[in-house]
Symmetry: C2
Subunit: 400 residues, 2 copies
């Protein structure tokens, strides 16, 4: 590919990162209670002051990561805002006894909802871990590692706290959902980034995660299924056949990153070929462009009403994945896939005028919901992808 | 309107009812375990054998109602199938101690999921009540009334059983959601249909329901909000502003039916003008036709990803509502609205070839999901609407 195109990617992504970060800096800070307004309209207007714990944790992480890795964001005010939000989370987000975290809080921190999953907790741990890097404060490190221990205990030993008095029912299948081992692998990487000496401590759980993720390769390696059983077999019904191409691709770069760090070429191949390229092929909408959100492996209608929508984060993850895979392999056809995603998102998702991305598009690429932040969309996928892609493009163009 | 058009409505709807009932009779019976397959593809293929309790209860009700009211369906095999499904529900759907019902069961009846709501229970009560009419069996009547008592107790006295050990959280607002009083009013009507002498027993709860429903008229009578607080005030944030026009219209005919039965002309006016006509005006998509699923009262993007989709049941309820309102008032402009809905659904939702309706359309009216039965769509809204409209059209054309 022409160097000119790589330069264009770099320039566009750098500018977009600035717009994105400025959007959150300008509109999302709750200076009264701490934490962030995460429901923001197209121009940054607060349309709901509920605080969604995933998004609060993710934004603390994003601010701390930007502070740690981007010279222009190594700013005292950014770090202070992140620390204030972390204090809010520490005080209000977790159940003091079990450390189970809530899903949503009122603006002033009263709990609204809890879920039987580990994700609020995972983003909580990520937030404190990255802040520990920014500040060197042991208190943050201890908080992150303590939550990490809890999560591993719930997932591997005893989920009782996680289910808060609502045990599994007799007919519930024992599922291995892709998101759980993915998040664990992501957290291990986060903890190692904080402290490389932790690698040994988490070596076993990382390998367990890799194996749990690989179990999702099904039907002779042609598909990644979102849910399989604990013996690695396909589950019956719609939930057994459901595929989320963007999620498979995200798992792909988690695996590739792990494979590169640990010198595992066979795993790198699997990550690229099975988790990125295949799902990209069957997940891309040949008619309108963009990745479908949900698909059924037998080609039936998925039961998720939003199946044919185009979501921002699937494309963010695809950008990271294909650029990482290109950087690792030098294969031009992989860079072409990055280009394909880049051209789609800068034509459809990106708001050059007010900053950040339109998260939810109709199948045909028109904007379905015009807000920039919502109950499931905060300051995370866009800045993470732009920051990672910017750095990779820098490295790629420097060595070209 | 020309009599010719009314004849056309009647003919089309009668034929559609036959196609619809035949679809379920042919494809949905689980002759091995009892109950119904409720996940059926475009031609009736079973694509998931999970048994969704709402849909099981609703189909028992629909079969019993068809048996009771339509000569051609007063068939032994239909009643037997309904009774077998009721036996399945009685055995597996409810917690033996609390009577809280599950949301979903495996094909052989093991519980998969429970929800903190009353709806599985409501459709359970409706099923047994209508079967009591079909058979005259006191056992069904007792089962229906016992569940009705439970539901009223949970809603009015103590929701503990309903929340199964997961109490409300400190930040959860005390909401009056439209669906709860609507369902109670619908159940009262069902119990009175079973036994007119029950009217007095349920007079107070019916009035409470009417008042709870009326509290959703907001902003000087211009909108029906889906959630208000227990003092009848608007709630903050997205959930306070959300409107579901099809649901408001359904509440409209529940109210109108109650108003007619109880000789309440002022309430009939409210039902028609506030709950039907207004929501139809702001809920109808001027560009592509059909009712939007969700809207925000301030005109912001709703946070529900499926907000701009066109759903079958909203149109079923609008058909019932406007025909009932026309029959009651004789106002031609109301019949025009029925016609508008009729023309839309018979162009977009109805499958003349294989029977039943495509439930989920994209905003532009193209089919988004081609199945006829799914986790939230069973044998209920289509046959109920067609049966009711057929009878009303018969009455209207006979008196013309």
């Amino acid at each position: 590919m022409a160097d000119r195109r790589l330069q264009e990617f770099y320039k566009e992504i750098s500018e977009d990162l600035s717009r994105c970060v400025n959007f959150w800096l300008k509109h999302s800070h709750d200076t009264e209670y701490g934490g962030f307004f995460d429901c923001l309209g197209p121009r940054g207007e607060v349309y709901d002051d509920t605080k969604h714990v995933w998004l609060q944790g993710r934004q603390v992480w994003a601010y701390a990561r930007l502070y740690n890795e981007e010279e222009q964001y190594r700013r005292k005010d950014i770090l202070e805002t992140a620390e204030k939000a972390a204090a809010f989370l520490k005080k209000f987000a977790k159940h003091p006894k079990t450390w189970k975290c809530y899903l949503a809080l009122t603006r002033d921190g009263r709990p609204i909802k809890m879920q039987r999953t580990i994700f609020s907790e995972c983003f909580y741990a990520m937030a404190f871990s990255e802040l520990a890097i920014s500040t060197g404060h042991d208190e943050y490190r201890v908080e992150a590692l303590s939550m990490m221990d809890k999560i591993i205990y719930w997932v591997r030993e005893d989920p009782t706290d996680l289910l808060f008095g609502y045990p599994p029912m007799a007919g519930e299948p024992e599922v291995n959902p892709l998101n759980v081992p993915m998040m664990i692998l992501c957290l291990v990487d986060q903890m190692e980034t904080m402290d490389t000496e932790l690698s040994e401590r988490y070596a076993e759980i990382a390998e367990w995660s890799v194996n749990q993720i690989r179990a999702h390769i099904q039907r002779n390696g042609t598909v990644i299924l979102e849910n399989v059983d604990q013996e690695g077999r396909e589950l019956p019904g719609s939930s057994g056949r459901v595929m989320v191409p963007g999620h498979s691709i995200e798992a792909g770069w988690f695996l590739l990153n792990y494979a590169i760090k640990n010198g595992r070429p066979e795993l790198a191949d699997t990550a690229i070929n099975k988790f990125m390229i295949k799902p990209f092929e069957y997940g891309w909408d040949k008619e309108h462009g963009g990745l479908f959100y949900f698909l059924d492996a037998d080609g039936l209608s998925p039961v998720q009403l939003e199946w044919n929508m185009k979501l921002w984060w699937t494309h963010n993850e695809a950008m990271i994945a294909f650029l990482m895979a290109y950087q690792h392999t030098g294969r031009l056809e992989i860079l072409k896939k990055f280009e394909q995603v880049f051209d789609y998102v800068y034509a459809k998702h990106v708001d050059r005028k007010y900053g950040e991305w339109f998260g939810y598009l109709n199948r045909d690429g028109t904007v379905c919901m015009d807000f920039k932040g919502g109950p499931w969309k905060g300051c995370f996928h866009v800045p993470r992808a732009l920051l990672m892609c910017k750095k990779m493009l820098q490295e790629i163009t420097n060595t070209n």
